[in-house]
């Protein structure tokens, strides 16, 4: 009797152990997202990070230059419909736009064979943290301290002492030249991926969306200023209506010893780059109406020919985005800070 009960009990306890029931402090996908909610407060219906954003759509025109590096359909010469989302990093959906806020661009390429490529990129040179635990600790350390205008300095210095790679990365991020707006920013994958060619050859890669220099006619009017709670999004909408902005998808190919598991470290500047096509975004919508609202821009939704690397942040992003998606789509959709009226073509001449 005791042996039979012991076997059943051991199987049940192993299941609970693997499910994390006996490790209440380990970082799980749910606890990762809980931390965002604790730091930012609850904002039902919004993404737990990069909460303030707008939807966009357009086309990616692949020039075929990537096809020798990766068998992914996205690199074959042709045009691919894209939807996407510009956002500001942080979990506050109604925060006023700020030049210092990290801008992001997430894209979903709908490939003709039914595959998809989703990518979330940021306008910073490196990511601030190397591991999921460091990410969670950063959220807690940088949180608004009660009764203070900003985080608790002693918590910040303790955090940076514990993660010296983050102190170095923040230095690089602060030194990175900031573009005037969303349309002029360069967006970087930060995490490394692996391109797989049709002959099986594997190449480490990071990619960027590099803005095309603006024609003088499409530049911002000189009267535009950094005023209004949505000045960055207003300028983006005006720019898209005036002259759809373009970016070049540039692949940076890693050498065999370049770190793929550390997003806080840049690869040497002399690494080979390949311009594989042009993204044109010609429509912008409020999140309230955009189909991007219900897209989880999971960075591991990849077509055959692109794979994740050994970067631990990729799995963490995938896991946390899934939890954030599950929670927010179950909540009633709230009105976005950038309304449908805000993105109408009123800025057009």
């Amino acid at each position: 009797m005791s042996l039979a009960a012991g076997i059943v009990g051991a199987v049940a306890l192993s299941f609970l152990y693997v499910g994390g029931w006996f490790s209440p402090h380990a970082l799980t996908p749910s606890r990762f997202v809980d931390t965002f909610e604790q730091v930012n407060g609850m904002h039902p219906g919004f993404r737990r990070n990069h909460a303030k954003g707008v939807g966009v759509s357009g086309t990616f025109e692949s020039n075929g230059q990537g096809a020798s590096l990766s068998k992914a359909v996205v690199f074959e010469r042709g045009r691919i419909p894209v939807i996407g989302r510009f956002a500001l990093a942080g979990g506050m959906p109604y925060a006023a736009d700020a030049v210092k806020a990290v801008r992001s661009l997430a894209l979903e390429f709908r490939l003709p064979d039914g595959e998809e490529w989703r990518t979330g990129m940021n306008a910073i040179p490196v990511f601030a943290v190397r591991t999921p635990d460091a990410f969670r600790d950063q959220l807690v350390a940088m949180a608004q301290a009660p009764g203070k205008n900003g985080p608790d300095p002693s918590k910040v210095s303790a955090f940076l002492a514990r993660y010296p790679e983050t102190a170095r990365a923040i230095g690089k991020i602060k030194a990175y030249p900031s573009a005037p707006g969303f349309a002029q920013s360069r967006y970087n994958s930060l995490n490394a991926f692996v391109l797989v060619a049709s002959d099986g050859r594997r190449t480490p890669v990071r990619w960027s969306m590099v803005p095309e220099p603006e024609a003088a006619s499409s530049a911002l009017p000189s009267s535009s200023s950094e005023t209004g709670a949505n000045f960055l999004f207003d300028a983006l909408a005006a720019r898209i209506h005036r002259a759809p902005p373009k970016w070049h998808l540039v692949l940076t190919l890693g050498a065999p010893n370049d770190p793929t598991s550390d997003a806080t470290v840049e690869w040497p500047a002399e690494r080979r780059t390949v311009d594989v096509g042009t993204l044109t975004l010609d429509d912008v919508e409020s999140e309230e109406t955009s189909s991007a609202r219900t897209v989880n821009f999971d960075p591991l939704v990849l077509p055959a020919g692109i794979e994740g690397s050994d970067d631990p942040l990729l799995s963490a992003r995938s896991a946390a985005y899934s939890v954030s998606f599950r929670r927010r789509v179950a909540e009633p959709a709230a009105s976005s800070a950038v309304t449908p009226a805000d993105v109408q073509g009123r800025g057009a001449p």
């Binding site: 042996l3 595959e115 963490a316």
Partner: protein, 185 residues
């Protein structure tokens, strides 16, 4: 009492194949919920393994309809004899429902349903985050129910085999059992 001593050999092979896949799936599913760094690898196994379970469940169900069953053992009580068909129905329902709910919830969320490389399945439900929310919850609840049902099945077989020592497990072992191995001794 004229049934065979054991389940037919295709039934036995299918049973143990399914057992291994389900046990793996229970632990993969549990770890997907608890692990940040292992999540992506586990999801990449979870999807094709779930579809493999759906296919195997279909094969097993068809096989179940054509194969003769061994008789109940004299050590099986009347309550057990009434419970066992319901247990079997519950297990078969879950073997079909879990992969279909998983496939359906990914469809409703408009995730691509990737098996291997470029091989992916079509959506079986329209894009609806409400549908996704319901099915995602159902998927989680059914997973615990499935594991509990599995434990009851395991416990029952172990009780007969180790406590009553009636050789019940001989009916399902992958090798050929001698008639004297089965039945109370």
């Amino acid at each position: 009492m004229s049934g065979p001593v054991q389940f037919a050999w295709p039934s036995r092979i299918l049973h143990w194949l399914m057992a291994a896949m389900l046990l793996s799936m229970f632990f993969i599913g549990a770890r997907m919920v608890s692990s940040v760094e292992g999540y992506s690898t586990l999801v990449a196994i979870h999807r094709p393994l779930g579809i493999a379970i759906l296919v195997l469940a279909t094969v097993r169900w068809l096989n179940r309809r054509i194969q003769p069953l061994p008789d109940f053992l004299p050590t099986m009580s009347g309550v057990e004899r009434r419970m066992i068909p319901w247990m079997e129905r519950a297990l078969y329902t879950l073997m079909f429902a879990m992969p279909l709910v998983g496939w359906g919830m990914l469809s409703a969320a408009r995730y691509p349903i990737v098996l291997f490389g470029a091989l992916h399945l079509p959506p079986i439900l329209p894009h609806s985050v409400l549908l996704y929310t319901v099915l995602r919850t159902v998927h989680g609840v059914l997973a615990y129910l499935f594991f509990a049902t599995f434990l009851i099945h395991l416990g029952g077989v172990l009780f007969h085999t180790l406590v009553l020592r009636d050789g019940l497990i001989q009916r399902m072992v992958p090798w050929r059992a001698r008639p004297s191995d089965s039945g109370s001794d």
